[in-house]
Subunit: 275 residues, 4 copies
Amino acid sequence: MIILIQCKDNVGLVAAISGIMASKNINIMSMREYVDGEAGQFFARLVCEQSADAQTLLKDLHDVLPGDALININPESQKKIIVLVTKEYHCLSDILVRNHFKTLGAQVQCVVGNHDVLQEICKRFDVPFFLINHKNRSKEEFEAELLEVIKKYPHDYLVLAKFMRILSPKFVDSFLMKIVNIHHSFLPAFAGANPYKQAHRRGVKIIGATAHFVTNDLDEGPIIVQQVIPVDHTYTANDMMKAGKEIEKSVLAKALKILLEDRVFVYNNKTIVFE
Amino acid sequence: MIILIQCKDNVGLVAAISGIMASKNINIMSMREYVDGEAGQFFARLVCEQSADAQTLLKDLHDVLPGDALININPESQKKIIVLVTKEYHCLSDILVRNHFKTLGAQVQCVVGNHDVLQEICKRFDVPFFLINHKNRSKEEFEAELLEVIKKYPHDYLVLAKFMRILSPKFVDSFLMKIVNIHHSFLPAFAGANPYKQAHRRGVKIIGATAHFVTNDLDEGPIIVQQVIPVDHTYTANDMMKAGKEIEKSVLAKALKILLEDRVFVYNNKTIVFE
Amino acid sequence: MIILIQCKDNVGLVAAISGIMASKNINIMSMREYVDGEAGQFFARLVCEQSADAQTLLKDLHDVLPGDALININPESQKKIIVLVTKEYHCLSDILVRNHFKTLGAQVQCVVGNHDVLQEICKRFDVPFFLINHKNRSKEEFEAELLEVIKKYPHDYLVLAKFMRILSPKFVDSFLMKIVNIHHSFLPAFAGANPYKQAHRRGVKIIGATAHFVTNDLDEGPIIVQQVIPVDHTYTANDMMKAGKEIEKSVLAKALKILLEDRVFVYNNKTIVFE
Amino acid sequence: MIILIQCKDNVGLVAAISGIMASKNINIMSMREYVDGEAGQFFARLVCEQSADAQTLLKDLHDVLPGDALININPESQKKIIVLVTKEYHCLSDILVRNHFKTLGAQVQCVVGNHDVLQEICKRFDVPFFLINHKNRSKEEFEAELLEVIKKYPHDYLVLAKFMRILSPKFVDSFLMKIVNIHHSFLPAFAGANPYKQAHRRGVKIIGATAHFVTNDLDEGPIIVQQVIPVDHTYTANDMMKAGKEIEKSVLAKALKILLEDRVFVYNNKTIVFE
């Protein structure tokens, strides 16, 4: 059983929480706690050997914690995700392979693409693919069709695995901190379109990728994972793009791992990650 | 106030510890806890906003913890180190500079060298340097003179900053987990002498450095920090040595930082590091 | 057209080689040259804009180079590989995906496994899979069957993508510098079996993977690529193994890339890699 | 003898250059060549075993190269630098230590500071320090005094080792590609003031440093070296600044190394670095 707690900081929080666990004879295998001193905010993640009745535990915890406490008790059930793509295969394939061999930490419910090029690979892995064309249609129409598909499948997260469309504020607001995107640059450098072209023009010696939650400030959502690789003058923008795909794949995989293991808090447009 | 606790694992340890803190109205700013499941061993590090009377706190903690508990209450006083060197300047100079600008996290009490080449740089920084010749003398005589110097100065750790002599079992035993060494390879690869020559002959693509506690198994003590850098076929053994100095300097600096901040436990010849 | 040249070093080699190219009006887009000063050996890789008749060019180059010169003129045709596996899917899947999307730089001819667990994923990608059982059979019988399969398919390299059997000296000798292996440790640390268990016991702070050519000294062949990732005390041997799979996959992919792009020389049991 | 050549690309350049070397019986120990295909520009760096009369060689090379060729023949004499600082000691100390032990690859002629805090450390290393106050004075007056000091000392480069003033366009123009700066962020992210505060606010998971040539577009000059280190939610802006100092020091050291070894070309506001 994994428990996430976030609330206003106070003396005695750890004692209160761990006291409840001890009283129920639950062994805490690992506990991570962090206080954001500036914000006066307390974050804790507990991994417990035994499970307890979630309803009772929730009530008992709320009784001893500040009124604003956010408490998340996660049974170890499988999580579920829906993947959105455009044309690039590298992130999607990596997810499909892990899903196929049951090492993703989630079940891929379906894949939605605004192009049909990735339909074939989904079929090879027996994962439903929905083509939702964006051409000659308003964003409202596109998203209405998308929502219909999403409603059919249970889901914990929407994963934008190189999905190259910008979602509407209304859509994003209805999935807050539930949409994960992989951006092909080391944000905040090269936000927006064509980051590799920008990077090549600037002559940087490192390129990177950023996995972040999607908010309505483009490429400004809370960052989950960032990684970089060295490049040099011999890289064309195209070479950077190719090398970048490897790091994009790796960063998205890492972000999904820690997200699906319930290791991520969000506060003040930043993430607290207990790795 | 920083508190380190290590004992046999049990249900309720976090509750017991944090309960005592809460009862004394001490706010835990950050708490790291880890259970080695295989060994059934519990480790915790608490950073507390306020200090408490160490004697009383120690007694109160022992009252609620298993009989074997090791408890370390560290007031925030300055730590003290003695540095041992041979001829290479890079690690020593880095330590002397940080010591001079008071960012080392410790005071360098003195430097002992078995050659005189580094005497001059110590003088520039007004740090006492003792030359203890190892030539034409037994190890016993050498270490007897060394011990005399060491006795003159209070010290928490002996830092071997490229000290190229092997200390006797008797000496090492009397400073267990108090001697830190920087080894110029990525251990356990290339233990022993001339690691860069070995690395060059083997044609590795990465070289590294390892900071570890000294035990009587040569280069087999608990590892504190390791880092690596890429090399390629153009590196001679000498080039590797030059490049390696940068990483040795960096690894020793990192190891001293976490050690002097009381972030390191040792168990089963391994370190638990709460970074 | 890519040209690889290796010979005894001499004054005027670059002039001689580039002179021939200029006389044929061939533009050298990129030229990398390296002299191993200790060994007195010269290595060069030329990427030329235009192609030339290979036979004539070979003769012209041999005319101006020392008698021992090894010259490799690579037309830009697709390379071919055969992949050997046991049970682990991560390296194979990565190769199959790249092969499927034609970004591997080679065609996977077939996969050979000594267990059947990976048969299914090969079928999904329409790649022939041959099960060659090693149980209750001599190594000779096993390799005889393996050779039969290999003979059926043209191949530039055999890729051991987590193939957990040791090949016989006779077999290895007949494919010298044509067999690439991914070893799940940072060689020479933890050669042999169970490297992650060894790494866990030693308490290292970094784990790695090594892609190397297979020779008859186990895990002692020329190293092509090495990479590492940080680990800490919270990793069990099993966690290290999981984390290691990511780096194994990445290192093998990188090694195949540079190998298939004709960027690797071997000399004195070491590789010269022009990246 | 090291030779740098930059000119319009053409068939036969390598042959022409290496032919001249061969005709003079000069052995090329290492030659790096790169063609920027988009720009049609050729770059070469030759390390030759023997030296030749620079005047004659220069003429001979110009005779066979395009009219616009930039040719730099570097005898292996010691380079000279002047260091500008404000208050932070970490980059300057690293330079002073290397200078003291003659491993910098250059001689530090003098240090100029707009504050006096670093005067003392310069004195310890017997390096002249000039305090040039910027308060209550115009930039013109400040730079006039600076120029007077600079004129006194021969110099190949001015190194801004955490010099926190912006130099005037006139000053910069008169030292084009001769001023190296260390910027405390991963450019182009967080250009301008207070990069660590910006990084903390944005919640990045990696921070970095950039060594670049100074041009009159602030923080937009050609990038020489960039490196990064991971950070997490526990870092305050101040912690980032402390951790950043380590990487700043390392990046500036690396940039100086390759610069002083004549490994850097500049073209189109980018660097070509032959490492």
